[in-house]
Symmetry: C2
Subunit: 321 residues, 2 copies
């Protein structure tokens, strides 16, 4: 019904649609959400549910196939918390899609269930792109609702409204809407020397280098956030900034804004608190890192990660190879 508003109408390939978690095609009906929309969707024919224990999606598995879609009756033994269920939207065939937190802990799940962190969903290829996108929406929404049970202004209880997209304080009527945190992530290019800037945080797997990144600050443009973060983390000055692609990043509810930026200085001065290492990589080195295994001396983030696509697209645009 509305999928063609999204992917089918997009030019191919649109860089954003090549990233993990970007494949959500649900008709969200965001202008028509009523307070009983979850209830109605639960009662509808063909409803399928994504179930979460804490931040982890529960997958049914029979030894071979992993399946995240529960019919309502299949949830009973997982102690579903339907009061905190949220409506994701509708599939093209009219099937509603709902996300439900369950009260059973991950450790207590029977062996035919497998709980999976958001990151594992794409890293381990557990879900197709469309389901990854639906899971991203679910994780962001459930997390935001759970983190706002009480009113930040007066401390009273908040109530969920319109299927999980609004919370209202039962005392002071303060209203809240879902939170999405914009993050800039940039591949900074030294054009003269045909090389790119990559770094690693202290918590990265050994050998992995990725694009620098950071949250957009209050009162900041995207371009200035790119320049500030690159200078803070690596001491590199940046001139021109160009947007390339975006990606929903459900850890728990970020929007990655992927940019190319042009270095106007070369000497790296790292912030040792934030970064373990930052260095320049030649085009050939970067190309090798995209295909290198995780046991290599240097390797890039996995396909699906927006940093991977920033690198890949830079390399494929050419240069002196």
């Amino acid at each position: 019904m509305t999928a063609d508003i999204f992917h089918n109408n997009a030019p191919h390939p649109e860089p954003s649609l090549l990233t993990a978690f970007a494949g959500n095609r649900l008709d969200r009906q965001s202008e028509n959400r009523a307070d009983d929309c979850v209830e109605k969707a639960l009662a509808a024919e063909g409803t399928h549910i994504l179930a979460f224990t804490g931040p982890r999606l529960i997958l049914k598995h029979d030894g071979q196939i992993l399946d995240p879609l529960f019919a309502p009756y299949e949830l009973a033994e997982l102690q579903p918390d339907f009061d905190n269920a949220v409506l994701l939207g509708y599939r093209d065939n009219g099937e509603p899609r709902i996300a439900v937190p369950v009260l059973i802990a991950a450790e207590e799940l029977a062996s035919h269930y497998k709980p999976a962190e958001a990151r594992a969903l794409f890293r381990d290829g557990l879900l197709d792109e469309e389901l990854q996108g639906e899971a991203a929406q679910a994780i962001a929404l459930l997390n935001w609702n759970a983190a706002n049970r009480f009113c930040g202004k007066c401390g009273s209880t908040m109530e969920m409204k319109i299927g999980g997209y609004k919370r209202v304080c039962t005392q002071c009527q303060h209203m809240l809407f879902p939170r999405t945190d914009p993050v800039v992530i940039m591949l900074t290019i030294d054009i003269e020397n045909d090389r790119c800037l990559l770094g690693r945080s202290h918590h990265f797997q050994e050998g992995m280098y990725s694009c620098l990144a950071g949250f957009v600050e209050p009162g900041e443009t995207i371009e200035n956030a790119v320049r500030r973060e690159t200078f803070e983390e690596a001491g590199i000055r940046v001139g021109r900034v160009r947007y390339h692609a975006s990606q929903p990043w459900p850890m728990p509810h970020s929007l990655m804004i992927g940019c190319y930026s042009e270095a106007s200085s070369q000497e790296i001065i790292i912030d040792p608190q934030e970064m373990q290492d930052v260095r320049w990589f030649s085009r050939a080195e970067a190309a090798a890192m995209l295909d290198a295994g995780t046991d290599s001396q240097y390797f890039a983030p996995l396909k699906g990660a927006i940093a991977h696509h920033l690198l890949r697209d830079w390399i494929e645009w050419g240069g002196e190879r």
Copy 2:
């Protein structure tokens, strides 16, 4: 010291830097904020303060000049709430810049003070671009801190940390960071007929038409948000989407993400709840609207508004004129 990381290093003109509230050049020292950073900045030589009563910036005025910068001693009669002051950053000359909420109500201010809403700061040209940018940062931060006095997870009191950029629950240790809401705002172009799509909300001043806009939803790319909002509000299908510029929009803490998008359908079907009217405007009509007064039949948003610049830049790129 660091201003050249931002504006001086940017290509001229960078579309984002032509928008209102984008002129912030402060060195935010975002990696080095300590819990006593406001205290230290208050005690420093040359500190200047932006003071707010609720959401309104207080300007000193002597009948001719409007001045938003207070020295600490000038605040006494306004009942400054220094416990909730936030650090904005440092000017190039080393002067700290702080924002402070005051307890005196706007209606109780003496006549040599003028309270001004965020929108008025650029609409009425009350501040230069750099101060507008600092005020945008201040409004976003103060609002976010005031809206999160209590923990959303457990309802206990939260404490401000690192100059206003973190809040921590005194009971459950839940941590929060400043919130920025990404909003897509798009000029949709019907290329074949060389016309653009503009609409008006019910609350717009009579005659004003602007770009369609809406919040990015959880789990959504920028491009899909553009396609979804354009379809929901106007029934128009959109193909290619191209980012153009961003703008901090402190009402209270949005990030406007300005895009061009290509229409792949022509027939407008408005959502009457959200929009009063949406229509196609020819290039000539749109050009006239940019210069038309607010008493004209059709006029565009003011210079500084990102919608104005999306329109202006489309027109200046040419076409059949």
